[in-house]
């Protein structure tokens, strides 16, 4: 059992940042991201504990769990997306010019733009451009062909470009 713990501990250390970041970008709340990330690893550990050999690709497995948990979270909350308070000042059309001139950083803007995409496009952008997953790796997670992933990637980046162009004061 101790060997399993050690092995899983290594997996945890290797992927905790990626899983947390993936969840956080999608839910935009530290508390919720911590809860869901913790649940992701707990579920993975439960499977791993039964039989480590069942999990051929821990990364893919963890992302699948995380994705499902985020979907469940939104379903439970009865909404399709969350916009945090920090974004309101950017998109609120009633802001006067003075407030509007207080430009949020590109960091906040790009985060906000990503949350406006559909779930699949969000996932693929996070995986490929932030977590540096290759097309074959993403294909394994999503159980799709590499060709389909490439097409989605192309469409996702175009969709994101459109969202960014809608944002006022987004530096280009």
């Amino acid at each position: 059992m101790e060997n399993k713990r050690k092995e899983f501990s290594r997996i945890y250390d290797q992927y905790i940042d990626k899983i947390y970041r993936f969840v956080y970008i999608k839910v935009n709340s530290q508390e919720i991201a911590e809860d869901l990330s913790s649940d992701t690893f707990l579920r993975c550990w439960e499977k791993f504990r039964e039989n480590p050999n069942k999990i051929e690709n821990p990364q893919a497995f963890l992302f699948q769990i995380a994705r499902n948990l985020v979907t469940d979270y939104y379903r439970e909350k009865g909404r399709t997306k969350i916009v945090s308070a920090e974004f309101v000042s950017i998109i609120d059309p009633n802001n006067n010019l003075e407030k509007a001139s207080q430009i949020s950083s590109d960091f906040d803007n790009i985060k906000e733009a990503i949350t406006k995409l559909n779930g699949d496009y969000q996932d693929i952008i996070i995986w490929h451009y932030i977590d540096d997953l290759s097309v074959p790796e993403i294909a394994k997670i999503t159980d799709r062909s590499e060709g389909a992933v490439r097409v989605s990637l192309h469409r996702a980046i175009n969709a994101l470009k459109n969202e960014c162009n809608k944002l006022p004061h987004f530096s280009s």
């Binding site: 970041r21 690893f41 985060k111």
Partner: protein
């Protein structure tokens, strides 16, 4: 916007990372110990808290606890728990009854208790209690540092073993991923004591055995074990 620029901005999100303390505690929770089970005593005590809203009853109980010191219920409470103030009030009442000359020893005892509490919090991944427990530890260690500055060599020798325990527990807690700051004051106080003792030693002729011990002391200081170094140097100085 050019695609290249957009991708560069997306990559900026790599800076999003989880809190280190949370990540460590979450791992410990997932892989480690089961949380403590609620006991009959703690369930009983949860019901009793309604009575404690009455200040008179609260004050009477604090006095009772101070006098008897035997109410085990509150002894298990942790910083951030509802009954922790009762535990602290009992402790403060007992401290008030401690003679002035024994206060430094009392402060060291309390610091060690705070460290034990923080260890329990870290092991149980009780994130709600983490910040209060860290605050309590830091405050208690500062008090030890202040007491140490005023102490003579004789009194220092009495408490140095317990101060060593503080250092050992602090290292252990850090290995659990919990950062404690404000230990620099304690280290400064210990270093000052070591400096004073070295000045005393310089006035004496040392035997070869004592010189060998000085080498050990040097290694302890280099390793950051100031309490260990102080203990040894007090022995050589015949205190």
């Amino acid at each position: 916007m050019q695609e290249k620029e957009l991708i560069a901005k997306i990559k900026g999100l790599k800076q999003i990372k989880p809190r280190h303390n949370w990540a460590v505690l979450a791992k410990a929770r997932i892989l480690g110990q089961e949380p403590e089970e609620e006991t009959e005593v703690s369930r009983f005590f949860k019901g009793v808290h309604l009575i404690l809203r009455h200040k008179f009853a609260f004050t009477s109980l604090v006095v009772l606890f101070a006098l008897t010191g035997t109410f085990g219920f509150t002894q298990n409470s942790l910083p951030g728990d509802f009954f922790y103030p009762v535990k602290k009030a009992t402790e403060n009442a007992q401290t008030a009854l401690t003679p002035t000359k024994d206060q430094p020893k009392r402060n060291v005892e309390i610091a060690n208790k705070r460290l034990d509490e923080l260890t329990r919090v870290a092991q149980a991944n009780a994130s709600r209690n983490l910040e209060p427990a860290i605050t309590e530890v830091q405050a208690s260690i500062l008090k030890v540092a202040e007491s140490l500055k005023e102490l003579g060599a004789e009194k220092t020798k009495e408490i140095v073993k317990d101060v060593k325990e503080i250092e050992t527990k602090t290292i252990r807690i850090r290995s659990l991923g919990v950062e404690i700051s404000d230990t620099e004051e304690l280290n400064s106080a210990l270093i000052q004591k070591i400096t004073d003792q070295v000045a005393e030693l310089a006035k004496k002729d040392l035997s070869p055995e004592q010189i060998a011990i000085l080498e050990e002391i040097k290694k302890l200081i280099e390793g950051g074990d100031y309490a260990g170094a102080l203990e040894k140097i007090l022995e050589i100085n015949g205190n």
